[in-house]
């Protein structure tokens, strides 16, 4: 099957010229750096002296590196909480906001706001919300007669960080789902209500199957973001000496590369993370073939 118009003669030249910046960027910026990382992971390099061949020893070392294992497990835990959170909440929000109610534009704007504000600035605000003695959250707890909670101490930090990250991502998720929802023809719902289906039944029998492409897409994007999550986590949990109470994989990669001068270890960690994302994507595409409904 072919779509649209085919470029002809001179148009082809222009086509390639226009695409060139993106393609060059992709080849050098993305594929090139991926290859460079793959190469570096086989060497020991301290950024100053010439790299030494290390074979697979950097990969073997990953399994003995307690700090990295902790960071890696944290990334998995974070993703397991973050991805369902983002997909579920933004779907529900989109369904609620996909109707003719007064001020719907204002609500959509409010939910999308985090997506367009600087993560560093909002993380500072969250720091104040989570504050132990002066935070708004604890003030609310105390006025309800409950004991204050140390939101960013070691025990609760993971949950608090997931909440902020989900909050930051539901705006974009909502947009994806709103687009998916508007694509569902009105008559399906009319037919369903004529048959006596309740709102809830309509959601599960009509809406949910027909937004599976959006769910698939949003899950994929959220998972990739989860594995690479860094900015909010860094701002909220970093400690005075550069450590973190929720060290995640990207954090470990950054510290090893630019603070501990272990480029080889950092590259091996980066490759391992990339492999994990690849495996996850493979699972998702298998899932897509089985469950995603395209009209």
């Amino acid at each position: 099957m072919e779509y649209g118009l085919k470029p002809l003669g001179r148009e082809k030249l222009w086509l390639w010229l226009m695409l060139a910046p993106t393609i060059i960027g992709l080849v050098f910026g993305t594929i090139g750096s991926l290859l460079a990382t793959l190469g570096l992971s086989l060497f020991d390099w301290d950024l100053i002296n010439p790299p030494n061949w290390a074979g697979l020893s950097n990969y073997v070392a990953l399994f003995q590196n307690k700090d990295y294992i902790e960071a890696f497990v944290n990334t998995l835990k974070f993703s397991a909480l973050y991805v369902p959170g983002v997909v579920g909440i933004s779907l529900v929000l989109a369904v609620l906001l996909n109707r003719k109610i007064r001020g719907v534009g204002i609500f959509r704007t409010i939910y999308f706001l985090p997506a367009v504000t600087s993560a560093v600035a909002t993380a500072l605000v969250w720091n104040m919300i989570y504050g132990k003695d002066t935070g708004i959250l604890n003030w609310m707890l105390e006025s309800l007669g409950l004991a204050p909670v140390c939101w960013l101490c070691t025990d609760n930090a993971m949950m608090s960080v997931v909440i902020v990250n989900v909050w930051g991502a539901i705006g974009e998720g909502m947009i994806i789902f709103l687009a998916g929802l508007t694509a569902i023809p009105r008559d399906y719902y009319e037919a369903a209500s004529l048959d006596g289906a309740s709102d809830l039944q309509q959601f599960f029998k009509v809406t949910l199957p027909l937004v599976t492409p959006s769910i698939f897409f949003q899950t994929l994007i959220s998972a990739i973001n989860a594995f690479q999550a860094y900015d909010y986590i860094y701002m909220l949990t970093r400690r005075g000496q550069g450590d973190s109470s929720v060290p995640v994989a990207v954090y470990s990669i950054y510290r090893n590369a630019f603070h501990f001068f272990r480029m080889g270890d950092a590259s091996a960690q980066a490759i391992q993370l990339a492999l994990l994302v690849a495996v996850f994507m493979a699972i998702m595409f298998w899932w897509e073939r089985r469950y995603v409904v395209y009209e």
Binding site: I48, T154, Y230, G240, Q241, G242, F260, F261, A270
Partner: protein, 422 residues
Amino acid sequence: MKKLMFVLIIASLMLTACGGGAKPAAEGPVEITFTMWGAPEELTVWQAVVDDFHKANPNITVKVDVSDWDSYWTKLNTLIAGGTPPDVFAMDAPLFLDWQSRGALLNLQPYIDANPGFLDGFYPQTLTAYKTADGYYGLPRDFQTIVLFYNKDMFDAAGVAYPTADWMYDDLLAAAKQLTLDTNSDGKIEQYGFWSDTWDMELLWSEAIWAYGGDIISADHTKTLIGEGGARDAWKYIDGLYKEGVMPTPSASGVFGGELFQAGMAAMTTIGHWAVPGYIQAGINFNVVPMPSGPAGRATSVNSAGFVVAKNSKHPDAAFEFIKFALSEAGQKRLAELGFAIPVLKPVAESDAYLKQPGSLDQRVFLDSVAFARMKPVFKGYEEWAGVVGDGLIPVFDGEAELDTTIDEVITAADEVLAKNK
């Protein structure tokens, strides 16, 4: 992640492109680069130093670049990996060996030998950090000693006598209790008696450990000693400051921007001269006394910022000329105007350029503290070690972990870091 990969590829491209080796230093005008960390206002003073230098050496132009602490090290790493290091760059003494041992730095000994008497005016304590078996690979530019700051208004209001040079650590705790106030009786503290940063050893815990008769690290840098002898008593004391409530926990103080003395929320703190301009600007009415004593006597920490030259600098001679000028009396007097640190040249530190700075504090306390100061330890793997130890103990101070077992865990992890960085 994307950014990281980008840096990597650029770094690898530059590495192949710049493998040509250094050209011989050209006659005639040369331009050298000097990068440092610091506040934007520091750039103005450094530009003045550079202009003075250019007047004296018209053939050499110096390009100064100032970044904040975090970006400075990332930038430096990238420049060095790319084979285009700055000629002269700033060094924090504890990190010196991490850089020197990797062969990044030029040995300055031949230049020092060629300038007899060059090191005469220096405070000797500031030089040791940069000395290696085959000479100096760096030179200090200014230094810091830690002293006790107190807010005079808060002491007056509470009717508590000002701290003195004879204070013991227990006197500090007693006064801090009197100065910790819940002024509006809402069950929350409005004014803390004391606040200090316990992430890093420099501000409180190294001084306390030394004063209680303990030590930080063994002389051969293989063993972490923070759990032995008097060190445990020092930790108990610091933990007590938190448990008594005279000092806000680390997680609580983070909300106030982490500077409670400057915010006018703490009556005392232990910090170095770099804090003075900020305190004056904030309108705090303060003075300083030496650190308190412990059962084993008195101690403070001395640390310096210094100059190093990149090993593959194309203009090492010009680079040293610049360092020499910045460390001359003229250069040091300019730097003293900054008010952030103490000049390394004793004659300048003892002159009006340093002693007659704005503010009514006793500048001499910082100088006199040198007499009982110990050097902030310098060893390989410092940054990783400091992360393990400093950050590892924070859960204790936040009330989430038990002191003694956490110290034991931290020491095990810290010794692993030392073994890895041998």
